[in-house]
Subunit: 148 residues, 2 copies
């Protein structure tokens, strides 16, 4: 059981797209995250929904979430305006992008170890020239349980 057998079509966003486009994609398709592509079509990073949400929250509230109770009104407006104001590249993790890309020959166990180590529910499959899709943690579990 290799990445080539496990991969499924999975939506992407461009690194220079608006962060709101990524938010809309995750919201509409109920995705746990999206694959971020470079301008020349390489998968660059995984952007989890939890990471994207971080950039919808003003910095002083990230530092002290209890302040979020005080600014109760119009949270949704504020949060959407913040996302619309940033590019996807601006909402990738400070500590560098999640390097969640595997080649088609990666084994189920390599993929599981990568998801665990990088705390990502999603890895992209790339053969060196084309993006083939992605593998989700729940998809991997489904295939393991069917085969195990």
């Amino acid at each position: 059981m290799r990445a080539a057998d496990l991969v499924e079509p999975y939506p992407t966003v461009g690194i220079d797209d608006n962060a709101m486009d990524a938010a809309r994609l995750m919201a509409e398709e109920r995705l746990v995250g999206v694959i971020v592509m470079t301008a020349d079509g390489r998968p660059y990073a995984v952007l989890p929904g939890s990471q994207l949400l971080r950039f919808s929250v003003p910095r002083y509230i990230q530092a002290d979430p209890t302040l979020a109770r005080v600014v109760d009104e119009r949270h949704a407006d504020l949060m959407c305006a913040r996302l619309a104001d940033q590019k996807v590249r601006d909402v990738l993790p400070d500590e560098g992008p999640v390097p969640a890309v595997v080649h088609p020959g990666a084994t189920a166990m390599e993929i599981a170890a990568l998801m665990a180590r990088s705390h990502t529910p999603l890895v992209a499959v790339y053969d060196g020239s084309a993006y083939l899709g992605a593998i989700t943690a729940s998809g991997l579990l489904r295939r393991l349980l069917a085969a195990g």
Copy 2:
């Protein structure tokens, strides 16, 4: 927009259930994670699929994933056997459970800040006596975009 308005029914597992039950639930319902409940019905932690997968991988391969290429055969059997051998409490993060529980009055912004800080795509809603369900990152984004 408060947790009480955002919460949806969401599956749980007991902390003393078999880890394979959690795996099966995530696989069948395509979940990003499950809510782990104490024996007396309190939400205790979020168990993401990526975390669960960590415990399907032998320790020496977690330390050096390139070894996963060597033990190629029967990965699925090995990984399922490891999960079936552990309880949910054994596969929670070493550094303590993800404290992803909010009260029904938590604001959208508090929830987003919590998901971002704890890198979890899921929070449980608990009113002090009953588990009300959970909020996912994609669900929160959907409601924000509809309202913003």
